[in-house]
């Protein structure tokens, strides 16, 4: 459990990082919090020849830019707990962060690292998909914005090209009052989820005007459900039909089964967590 040989480069500007990544192509990797990359290197599941340490780059802003909340790639998970913009606009996001690992992990792990690593059970990729976030990817030849729903291609596989890195994620600000919730279940506190559900409800008075729902852990990428979302719109916060929504979502997903949890169990969890999550979000909104 020792990494294979690599060269370490510390980038001091974004341009320098992008130039190095362009030079190394497939052989180079950004090093952010190291909470996923370093264990993978020790297990020799990842063997980058060159590590480009991006920790010195000024990519740690959380701020409103235009009609989106801009979160820099180097924002550490623990920051969300205390940032008022998250609590104000993205309650499901805030709840999701509580489920990420342990304090040490949250102190080091970053937004850019989490979305780039694309673990199918991770919270932040789900949160991005849930909020229709845009992933800002930069390379020596420019910048592009990739919708979260198109960014996650498979377990641990993203739309990033060699030489490209994430500089920020943009979360569109909600246009009216919203409520949200995120719930998951893991074997132990801090474990990756067996299944997780996030929901965001936009409402006008008592009426649900928009709905988004996401499930993590069940498939190789976070999944949304247009059926559940359509079902919820037009219902009331007092009676959102949470139980039926759970039934629809769980019927629509064909989850993975493995030694950690059977597929039937994941299906059952999706049903129950969907119900609880919607009821909780609706309850908060009407309170």
């Amino acid at each position: 459990m020792r990494p294979s040989a690599f060269d370490y480069h510390k980038a001091s500007t974004l341009d320098q990082a992008l130039a190095l990544l362009a030079e190394f192509g497939d052989d180079g990797r950004p090093l952010a919090g190291g909470q996923s990359l370093v264990p993978m290197m020790n297990l020799r599941l990842a063997r980058p020849r060159h590590l480009v340490d991006i920790n010195a780059l000024p990519l740690d802003a959380i701020e409103i830019r235009g009609d989106a909340l801009h979160i820099g790639a180097l924002v550490r998970h623990e920051r969300y707990f205390t940032d008022p913009l998250i609590a104000e606009h993205f309650p499901a996001f805030l709840e999701a962060v509580h489920w990420i690992g342990h304090p040490t992990i949250r102190r080091h792990g970053t937004m850019g690292g989490s979305v780039s690593h694309a673990d199918p059970t991770a919270e932040l990729p789900s949160v991005c998909v849930l909020h229709d976030a845009l992933i800002v990817a930069a390379s020596a030849s420019g910048e592009r914005r990739i919708p979260a729903t198109e960014f996650f291609l498979n377990a641990y596989v993203t739309a990033l090209e060699p030489g490209e890195m994430v500089t920020a994620v943009e979360f569109p600000l909600p246009s009216g009052p919203t409520s949200g919730a995120f719930m998951e279940l893991g074997e132990r506190v801090g474990d990756f989820a067996i299944a997780g559900i996030g929901v965001v409800l936009g409402h006008d008075g008592n009426t649900i005007t928009s709905a988004r729902i996401v499930c993590s852990g069940a498939r190789l990428v976070p999944v949304r459900s247009a059926d559940v979302e359509a079902f919820l719109v037009g219902r009331t916060l007092a009676d959102p039909g949470a139980q039926e929504a759970g039934r629809i979502f769980s019927a629509a997903i064909d989850p993975v089964g493995d030694h950690a949890a059977s597929a039937a169990y994941r299906k059952g969890l999706i049903k129950e967590l969907t119900r609880r999550c919607i009821a909780h979000a609706a309850g908060k909104a009407s309170a």
């Binding site: 459990m1 020792r2 294979s4 040989a5 264990p39 297990l43 020799r44 279940l185 074997e187 132990r188 506190v189 801090g190 474990d191 990756f192 067996i194 030694h259 950690a260 949890a261 059977s262 039937a264 169990y265 059952g268 969890l269 129950e272 967590l273």
Partner: protein
């Protein structure tokens, strides 16, 4: 006023070793750094069963730095042999490096050495092994299947061993029974996980022809003996040192092939050789545990008396027999202890150990007893449920109450507190039992209470091993106690302390006997050069046998001090009391002499010694275990709360009532119990070593192999009952393993109680709980 010795035994003395262990001053195996060292990295089998066609080391030729490679062809017939010499056992050996055939994923195939550990690992990656796959024996069912060839050539079936044990008239019990209850129970395969993995450093110095081996082991003397025999070296020229050992739990209570191989490589290369096991190697290829399947049939009278028990015990012991407890260890132990704390006189058991293409099974805290107690105590609850009795009342009706008690297999139990412990737990849990009953009306939140009542044979003596013909052969523990000229004391202890607190408890024992403060006693252990020959630390024997040996040796010195004091103070020897560093005339404490003065006289100013007294203050004592050991007992109880829709379970309360006889140090006892319980919780809920159908391991890191962590562990309450045994010098019974024995049974019983279902296997992960509660969701 009378001089009386304030007792150290039983006092809440803080552990002396903790200063070193908690401040970073401890020295573990990886801290052994010798100049010129070669670092070893293994090439390990990647297929579960295959014939080695070729080992290709071509890639090392232009690697750019020196490397050394050794394969099975280079090591002659060096191997690990762990055989029990009786007709029902089939012979096997494990070559130190696989020759011809590999039998589990992770088996060492080649040893690659380089001057830097990173380079050794890089180099090992460049060695390619080509295999011709052989049919895999992956499960006990496949091992039972006569159409699949056994993994050893010439074997008549896939069993290391199959044997019977019996006592009494089972036919009569069956005929009298009003109820016959038959169930099958299973415990999953686990890894045993000490915080520090294994590791070996060896160095041969031609000048004094000394081979020194450092190993993270629980049994340095046995490692020395095995190396001497296998490498044909004089044992006098081998020194084995266990430095600070970061946990062992029985996993390091074996002699491993790596220990012998690293020693051989050091001689062969003429340089120090170092191997530090990494976590993946540890999980995949050190030693596994449990993997039991028991079918039990109980015969019960109309009024709820157990009349007899029939047992069929199968254990998947993996690919090799391990030294010194062998492939028969786990199955045989399960059969032996299955009668437990209950009074019945008809029993018949068949036990077998299957050979499969998995990592070998070995001793892990509790050794078969967690599985046996799981089955026994699940069965007690299932019987109680079937015949409509309260589970505690049912146990109280059947528990042994009169001692000494000769059990159905002829083992004699010394006095214990089985009924009192059950009554105590019933009082402690009264509110939880009522709450569990009340939760029965809920289909969403259920609480349950479960208990496990057990005895643990500890401090086994030589006869126990002779009967079983185990290669450990003997069970004594030795201690050498030496007082220095300044009155301080060194104890050379044959035990090895890797978390048991022996540097403190053994000092307490000696302090009482010698009348000195425990702080003035230095307990040395884990080094064959400074400790007398002993079997090491395992089997819950440190307190009763190690403590007993230290006590007996110290008493011999105390005796000599008293004779000397009596001589110097013109008093009668029997009128002398030793305490607080002084020898007093008991009835006249104004008259005393400092023990350090006596020590100086005994060791340096020997001209004034009484006529005929030999200089020196040194004594050694070897204490063997009693014929049948001494039986500790305990009741464990778990209170669980289950969220039925999600299967999420919370362990709300865990209570232990334990009786280990005389308590040497309550802090240490509580710590041992709690640590064991946490491991038992791991067995019950999380830890599962999983193989796929091809016997490829799936849980090879802590991301998949789940250990219990602080948030999952409730405050563990420990209550004590002290029933000293007449069979050991201090009245102590063993307690090191007990904590790990009860939790799986207690927790499974609590789940059974909460959900009103029978629970037949572990681990009880969320998925399992959810499936078990289907009926409450109207799904079954």
């Amino acid at each position: 006023m009378k001089a009386e010795n304030p007792r150290q035994i039983g006092a809440r003395v803080q552990r002396f070793e903790d200063t070193r262990l908690l401040s970073g001053a401890a020295r573990y195996i990886d801290d052994i750094r010798l100049p010129n060292t070669l670092h070893l990295s293994f090439v390990r089998a990647q297929v579960a069963h295959g014939r080695i066609l070729e080992i290709d080391t071509f890639g090392l030729e232009d690697i750019g730095y020196p490397t050394w490679v050794f394969t099975g062809e280079d090591i002659g017939n060096l191997s690990m042999k762990a055989h029990q010499d009786y007709p029902e056992m089939q012979y096997s050996e494990q070559p130190l490096l696989a020759r011809d055939v590999v039998r589990f994923v992770g088996e060492p195939v080649a040893a690659v050495l380089a001057e830097d550990p990173y380079r050794a690992e890089d180099a090992a990656e460049l060695v390619f092994v080509d295999y011709d796959p052989l049919p895999v024996v992956g499960t006990m069912d496949q091992a039972r299947d006569a159409s699949i060839p056994p993994i050893f050539e010439g074997w008549k079936n896939s069993m290391f061993v199959e044997r019977q044990m019996k006592g009494g008239d089972l036919e009569a019990a069956r005929a009298q029974a009003a109820h016959v209850i038959r169930r099958t129970y299973r415990n999953q395969r686990q890894a045993g996980v000490p915080m520090e993995c294994r590791g070996v450093v060896a160095h041969y110095t031609p000048g004094d022809r000394m081979l020194t081996v450092w190993s993270s082991t629980q049994m340095p003397h046995l490692v020395r003996t095995y190396i001497a025999e296998e490498l044909d070296l004089p044992e006098a020229r081998i020194r084995v040192i266990a430095p600070d050992v970061g946990g062992g739990f029985g996993i390091k209570g074996q002699v491993f092939g790596e220990e012998v191989l690293v020693a051989w490589l050091a001689i062969k290369t003429g340089r120090p050789v170092k191997w530090i096991e990494d976590r993946r190697e540890h999980l995949v290829a050190s030693l596994h545990a449990r993997d039991h399947e028991h079918t039990l049939e109980a015969y019960v009278s109309d009024d709820g008396r157990l009349l007899g028990l029939w047992a069929d015990i199968s254990v998947d012991v993996g690919a090799y027999s391990t030294f010194p407890f062998t492939a028969a260890g786990d199955p045989g132990m399960a059969a032996k202890v299955m009668p437990g704390p209950y009074d019945f006189q008809a029993y018949e058991a068949t036990f077998r150990g299957f050979a499969t293409n998995k990592c070998p099974i070995g001793t892990y805290r509790g050794v078969a007893r967690p599985s046996a107690v799981f089955s026994q105590e699940r069965l007690m609850d299932d019987i109680a449920r079937e015949i409509g009795m309260d589970p505690i009342a049912f146990r109280l009706r059947n528990v042994i109450r009169e001692f000494p008690y000769k059990n159905v297999l002829g083992f004699t139990y010394d006095p214990g507190s089985y009924a009192e412990s059950l009554e105590k737990i019933r009082d402690v849990l009264a509110d939880d039992i009522a709450a569990a009953e009340a939760s029965k009306s809920s289909a969403t939140t259920r609480t349950g209470v479960g208990i496990a009542c057990f005895v643990e044979q500890t401090a086994h003596g030589t006869p126990d091993f002779t009967r079983r013909r185990v290669p450990i052969e003997t069970g004594y523990i030795s201690a050498r106690v030496e007082m220095q000229p300044d009155g301080t004391v060194v104890i050379g202890l044959g035990l090895q302390s890797h978390g048991q607190g022996l540097e403190t408890t053994m000092a307490q024992v000696a302090a009482d006997a010698l009348g000195v403060l425990p702080e003035t006693i230095f307990v040395r252990h884990g080094d064959t050069l400074t400790s007398p020959y002993s079997m090491g630390t395992w089997g819950s024997r440190g307190g009763p046998l190690g403590g007993g040996a230290v006590h007996m040796a110290s008493m011999q010195i105390a005796e000599k001090l008293k004779v000397l004091a009596a001589h110097e103070m013109q008093a009668d020897k029997d009128a002398i009391t030793l305490y607080g560093g002084r020898a007093y005339v008991t009835d006249n404490p104004d008259r005393f002499v400092e023990i350090r003065t006596l020590a100086r006289h005994a060791l340096r100013n020997v001209e004034n010694l009484p006529e005929g007294m030999i200089p020196g203050l040194e004594a050694e004592f070897s204490l063997d275990g009693p014929r049948d050991g001494t039986y500790a007992n305990a009741v464990h109880a778990a209170v669980v709360e289950i969220d039925v829709p999600t299967g999420k379970m919370k362990l709300k309360r865990f209570v232990v009532v334990e009786d280990c006889g005389t308590i040497l140090n309550p802090l240490v006892v509580d710590g041992q119990v709690r640590g064991g319980v946490v491991q038992g919780i791991g067995s019950a809920l999380f830890e599962h070593f999983v193989y796929d159908a091809e016997c490829q391991p799936l849980t090879t890191s802590f991301a998949d192999y789940l250990m219990p962590q602080a948030p999952e562990i409730p405050d563990i309450e420990v209550h004590h009952i002290e029933t000293p045994t007449p069979l050991t010098p201090l009245g102590a019974k063993g307690l090191g393993e007990g904590g790990a024995i009860g939790p799986a049974a207690a927790i499974a019983n609590a789940v059974s109680n909460a959900l009103d279902v029978e629970v037949s296997e572990t681990p009880l992960k969320a998925s399992a709980i959810w499936h078990l509660s289907a009926h409450l969701r109207g799904e079954a």
